[in-house]
C-alpha cells in the first residue's frame, strides 16, 4: 500500500467525527476509577486479576488477528475493555489461570468467532464469565472479605493456583455477598453500605456510587446511551417493587435490588455495549426493561443468587428481534409491515 492516506468525508466539516478508538479509550478512562477502587478494596489479588484478564484478552485478539491474516485490531482498545470488564465481574479470589481461560474464551468465542468488533452478538466479557460460571462453579461463587488488613501484602490463597489444579480453599478470608446473605441466610444489608460499596462481591461491582459517576462521565461525553442503564435499573426497580408490595416479608426492598450485586455495573457498562444492544429509541427501552425484569426474576425465583449476567446475555440475544419490532415506519408507507 502507498504511504498516502486521504480520508474522504461528507460535509459538514465543522463537526468532528468520533472514531471507535476514541470511544473505546474513553470507556477505559471511565473504568479506571472503578478498577482503582477495586484494587484498594480487595488488594493485590484484584490487581492481578485485572492484569491477567486484560493480557489474556489482548493477547487472544492479537493471535487471532495474526492467524486470520487481518490487520491488528488491538489498538482500538475494545479488547482492553473486555479484559477489564471481565475482571470486574469475577470474585476477588478467582484463580488467575481460570481468569485467563475465561478471557481467551470471551474473545475467541464471544467476539472473533462472529467476525470481530461490530459483529459480536453478545457482550464478549459476559461470554467469558458465563463460560467460567459453567466450567468452574465452585471458584466463581467463593467470595472474600473486603478491606482485609493484609490485602496489600499477600495474595489470596486461591489466586496463585497452579494452572489446571484445584485452588486452595480461602478459609479465613471468606464472606457472603449481600445477595447470598439475603438469599441463603435472610440477612439484609443497609442500602448506604451498598451504595458506597463497602461490602463483599465481585471485584468491581460493589460501589454503586462510583459506577454511576463513571457512567455520568461517558454520558456527558456523549459516548454512552443513558437510556439503556436507566431502562435496566427501572425495569429491575419496578419488578422488585411489585414483588415487594405483594409480600414485603419474602422479598427485599427495590432499593436493595437495584444497589446490590452486579446490576449497577451490568446496567452501566455491559448492557450498554454498543454492538449488542438495539439502536431504536423504543427498542432501547424495551431491551433495558427486559434485562431488569429478567435479573429480578432470576434472583428471586432462580437457583442462583445473581442473575445480571444471564439477563444481559438474554437481552443481547433478543435485541435483533427487538430492533425488528420497533423499526420506525417510513412516512407515507402505509400500515406497519407484518413481522
Amino acid at each position: 500500500m502507498s504511504a498516502l492516506h486521504i480520508k474522504l468525508k461528507t460535509s459538514p466539516h465543522l463537526i468532528q467525527a468520533v472514531s471507535v478508538e476514541q470511544i473505546m479509550r474513553n470507556v477505559v478512562y471511565a473504568l479506571l476509577p472503578v478498577c482503582a477502587f477495586a484494587v484498594w478494596h480487595f488488594g493485590i489479588s484484584a490487581l492481578a486479576l485485572l492484569v491477567t484478564t486484560t493480557a489474556a484478552c489482548v493477547g487472544t485478539e492479537r493471535v487471532i488477528n495474526l492467524l486470520s491474516g487481518k490487520p491488528s485490531t488491538v489498538t482500538d482498545f475494545s479488547a482492553v475493555i473486555t479484559g477489564l470488564l471481565l475482571a470486574l465481574t469475577l470474585p476477588p479470589a478467582f484463580p488467575l489461570w481460570m481468569a485467563a481461560v475465561s478471557g481467551i474464551i470471551g474473545i475467541a468465542l464471544g467476539k472473533a468467532m462472529f467476525g470481530g468488533l461490530g459483529y459480536n452478538l453478545f457482550n464478549p466479557a459476559l461470554i467469558g464469565r458465563a463460560f467460567a460460571q459453567g466450567a468452574f462453579p465452585g471458584a466463581i461463587s467463593t467470595w472474600t472479605l473486603p478491606g482485609h488488613p493484609d490485602r496489600f501484602v499477600e495474595f489470596l490463597p486461591s489466586t496463585l493456583a497452579i494452572p489446571f489444579t484445584r485452588p486452595e480453599s480461602v478459609d479465613g478470608w471468606t464472606s457472603a455477598t449481600p445477595l447470598t446473605a439475603w438469599k441463603f441466610q435472610g440477612v439484609d444489608t443497609p442500602s448506604m453500605e451498598l451504595f458506597t460499596g463497602m461490602v463483599a462481591g465481585s471485584v468491581g461491582e460493589t460501589s454503586a456510587l462510583l459506577i454511576l459517576g463513571c457512567g455520568l462521565y461517558l454520558v456527558a461525553r456523549r459516548m454512552m446511551n443513558w437510556h439503556i442503564p436507566a431502562a435496566v435499573l427501572s425495569g429491575a426497580f419496578i419488578t422488585a417493587g411489585v414483588c415487594y408490595l405483594i409480600d414485603p416479608n419474602a422479598y427485599p426492598t427495590p432499593w436493595f435490588v437495584v444497589l446490590s450485586g452486579g446490576l449497577m455495573l451490568g446496567a452501566v457498562f455491559m448492557a450498554s455495549d454498543m454492538v449488542a444492544s438495539p439502536v431504536t429509541r423504543s427498542g432501547v427501552w424495551l431491551y433495558g426493561l427486559l434485562i431488569g425484569f429478567l435479573t429480578v426474576i432470576i434472583r428471586f425465583f432462580g437457583g442462583l443468587p445473581e442473575g445480571v449476567m444471564y439477563a444481559i446475555l438474554l437481552g443481547n440475544a433478543a435485541s435483533p428481534l427487538i430492533e425488528r419490532i420497533t423499526q420506525p415506519r417510513p412516512y407515507g408507507t402505509g400500515r406497519r409491515r407484518p413481522l
Binding site: 481460570m98 468465542l109 459453567g134 468452574f136 489446571f164 484445584r166
Partner: protein
C-alpha cells in the same frame, strides 16, 4: 423397478470413505443427537459407537439382501422396520450386558432408530449395492462414527473429569471443567474438531493449488493467489 446391475468392485475406498472422506460426523454432520448427548465419557461414546455400528451393519445387510423385494413406494417404512428390529436387539443386549451403560445411554439407544446416518446409508448405499460391498461400506461408516464419538468423548472426559475411561490422568489436584460434561461442552468440542478438520482440509487444498500453480509462474505467485482466495 430398474435397478442397474450392481457389479461394482470393492475398492479400498468403499471401506475408507466412511472413516475419512465421508465421515458421518465430521463431514456429513449426521446423527448429531447421540454425538452431542452421550459423548460425555469415553465409555459412553464407545458403547454408543459399537451399538450404532452393529445396527448399521445388520440392517444394511438385510436391506441389501431384500433390495429387489422392497417396493420403491414403501421403502422408507420397510427400512425403518428393519432398523427398529436391530435396535430392539441392541437395546436388550446392552440391558443384559451392562445395566450401568444402559442407564448412562438412556433413551439414546432407542433413538438409534432415527439416526439419519443409518437410514441414509440404507437409502444411498445398501439399496443399490450387493451384500459384500454393503458390509464393507457399513463397517467403514460404523468405525468412522465410533472414532468420531471417541474423539469427542475423550476430550470431554479429559477436561470435564480429568480422566480417560474412568482412570484419572491428571491426578487428584486437577480442577475439572464441569461445563465440558454439560450440553454446551458437546457443542464446544464438536466445533473445535470441525474447525481442526476444516483447517486440515483447507491447508491440503492450498498445498495442492500451490503445487498446481508452481510450474506456471515458478512458485512465486503461489502465496499471493492463496491470499486472494
Amino acid at each position: 423397478m430398474a435397478i442397474k446391475p450392481d457389479t461394482q468392485p470393492i475398492t479400498p475406498d468403499t471401506f475408507l470413505s466412511g472413516i475419512w472422506r465421508e465421515n458421518p460426523v465430521f463431514v456429513m454432520l449426521l446423527g448429531m443427537c447421540p454425538v452431542l448427548a452421550v459423548t460425555n465419557s469415553v465409555a459412553n461414546a464407545l458403547a454408543m459407537g459399537l451399538a450404532t455400528t452393529f445396527v448399521l451393519l445388520c440392517s444394511n445387510a438385510l436391506v441389501s439382501l431384500l433390495r429387489r423385494q422392497i417396493p420403491k413406494e414403501v421403502r422408507i417404512a420397510a427400512y425403518i422396520i428393519i432398523i427398529a428390529t436391530f435396535v430392539t436387539v441392541v437395546d436388550y443386549l446392552i440391558h443384559a450386558i451392562s445395566l450401568e451403560v444402559y442407564d448412562a445411554l438412556g433413551a439414546f439407544i432407542q433413538l438409534i432408530v432415527v439416526n439419519c446416518m443409518i437410514l441414509g446409508r440404507a437409502e444411498a448405499f445398501a439399496s443399490r449395492n450387493r451384500l459384500s460391498n454393503t458390509l464393507v461400506n457399513s463397517l467403514g461408516m460404523g468405525i468412522g462414527f465410533t472414532i468420531a464419538l471417541l474423539c469427542l468423548g475423550s476430550v470431554r472426559e479429559l477436561l470435564g473429569a480429568g480422566a480417560l475411561l474412568g482412570y484419572p490422568i491428571f491426578g487428584q489436584s486437577f480442577e475439572p471443567w464441569i461445563i465440558m460434561l454439560l450440553p454446551p461442552g458437546g457443542f464446544f468440542v464438536l466445533a473445535a474438531w470441525l474447525l481442526l478438520f476444516a483447517w486440515l482440509k483447507e491447508s491440503q487444498q492450498r498445498r495442492k493449488q500451490a503445487a498446481a500453480a508452481a510450474p506456471q509462474n515458478g512458485g512465486k505467485l503461489g502465496g499471493a493467489s492463496i491470499h486472494a482466495r
